[in-house]
Subunit: 328 residues, 2 copies
């Protein structure tokens, strides 16, 4: 088109077409334009372009996501702990002795300080009591009912609605580009599986997490798998690369986390493996979500944050980079 | 078409079209027509027909296959043991002391009786020596080279060509009907993953097997996962439902095995879960493969065979049901 044809109506037409195209094509509408968003899109375009040096076959496009603090919130404490405390309350009628016995008394009295005074031993006792001793089918049913109804104490939202809208878009964008998306979380694998498919589009067989031991048996002639009060595997820190190896058996090219619990997964994914992408969700938004990093007891982010610049990991500044936090 | 038009040429044309259609549509060409083949096809048609009472959503079409003796041969001993023995020979130059030390001396002398005289302890020593002490990347490379070249002592075929052609067709048929196919084997998970995708169309993340413990570390600044000489999980017998839960997190609707090591997987898949399909490969063909069941040291099939009629499991009579054993 020669310049003399560029009348105002033509210009407007062209601009509106460009705007339309941009609006239709933005795969990450809840991400503000800028360096962070651009780095993600640029990576995906490079690994999916057959003419690019960085092209990766679809089968090798493995993406791993931490869950707590990366795909949903984790404050004031991990949502799975809220589940455990709710279970103690639900189970209390069958355990009258808990009224006088810590850590259960503390849970029932709403006295978390008394619970925490028992340290790690108390937490393990609560988890073992609420997460073991039933069949896997029974546990799935318990989690399914809880996740459908349980609400966060301060936001009043269902926990399952405290997932990050920008990360949902990122998961969908990667899958639209033939990535296979996995969760690799320190949370309990059987606590996540009942709802990750509906919530994140991630099916049970693509969920990696911490686990307790289980045992197969025929009970009254019916096969069941029973959950035992014994730790099997902790999928955190050095455990994350091990969990990835065990469950996936391929090297991820994309990993996302938010804490030092994800540090080793980010190393494993990116160091010496190109092309690759490491992403850290930095909780910087005290107003819309929470703001915490180096000194937090939950989701401490310290070493991985120091390491990010020299490793070339992309740090998401939640306050700056995200237009919104949760789905409408 | 009125009957008077049914001249011989027309009849031949119709017949040839029918024959063509049948030939094109036979999804299991290496299976002889009969009850076994028909039971498989009938099951797949029922669970994929939306108007059938037995319809199953694609996401729930999970099929699990044992490997040794089910997808490939396992005589005169598990092929992974052949791999271990070959590794002892390959590693011997770095271990001059093995010339005088059992069980390694027995392996190097080709004296398997001397090896077996050491019982389980000797086998564990051989497996630990040949399967641990390297990184997972190094082990993958070792397996990849072995599987590309190693040949069976009596058939002279590459081990990877001793896979069962009828089972390859069954895997492809299930996948064409939106089943997700998994291996659930007592064999080593990292021994299988390097070649199951090329051989069976089953990617690493859909392989479940026995494992040894591994450890993540930064070695000279590079992330590696090191294989440790310690058993982590035995994916056999009661372990198979546990492995299915851990890796898949869904209930299979189809399970195939060939020995009592698969008995619990067959129970778990079928008892109290309809629709479902249990399949047992019965090695009845001493001429084209091997013939063994109740008294075999490898792949003993006894309790599961007794259980098959009352559970409604389909028993494949290899000699009768399969037109051929291996691919051409």
């Amino acid at each position: 088109m020669k310049l003399r044809y560029l009348t105002l109506p033509v210009l407007l037409l062209v601009l509106s077409q460009v705007a339309n195209a941009l609006a239709q094509e933005d795969p990450l509408p809840s991400w503000n334009d800028g360096k962070t968003k651009q780095s993600i899109i640029s990576f995906v375009e490079r690994v999916t372009n057959e003419n690019s040096e960085d092209y990766v076959q679809p089968a090798d496009r493995i993406a791993t996501f931490d869950n707590d603090g990366t795909l949903w919130s984790e404050q004031p404490f991990y949502f799975q702990l809220a589940f455990a405390l709710d279970r103690v309350k639900a189970m209390a009628p069958q355990h009258p002795e808990w009224k006088d016995k810590q850590p259960f008394k503390g849970v029932l009295d709403g006295d978390l300080k008394a619970v925490m005074a028992g340290g790690k031993k108390s937490l393990v006792e609560i988890i073992a009591t609420t997460h073991a001793g039933m069949t896997t089918d029974e546990f799935e049913e318990i989690v399914t009912q809880w996740i459908a109804t349980a609400k966060h104490p301060t936001t009043g939202r269902l926990y399952k609605e405290m997932v990050f809208q920008p990360m949902l878009e990122l998961l969908a964008y990667l899958r639209a580009n033939d990535f296979k998306t996995f969760i690799v979380s320190g949370g309990g694998i059987e606590f996540m599986r009942p709802w990750t498919e509906a919530t994140y589009g991630i099916p049970p067989e693509q969920v990696v997490g911490s686990s307790i031991k289980t045992q197969y048996e025929l009970r009254d002639g019916k096969p069941v798998i029973v959950r035992l009060p014994e730790v099997d595997f902790i999928d955190d820190k050095e455990g994350k690369p091990v969990g990835i190896l065990s469950h996936i058996g391929r090297h991820p090219i994309f990993a996302a986390g938010n804490s030092d619990g994800d540090w080793q997964m980010l190393q494993y994914t990116t160091i010496g493996h190109k092309p690759s992408f490491g992403l850290i969700v930095h909780h910087t938004d005290a107003e819309r979500e929470w703001s915490y990093d180096r000194d937090s007891h939950i989701g401490q982010l310290d070493k991985a944050l120091d390491d990010a610049p020299r490793r070339g990991w992309t740090v998401v500044d939640m306050k700056q980079d995200w237009k919104r936090i949760y789905p409408n």
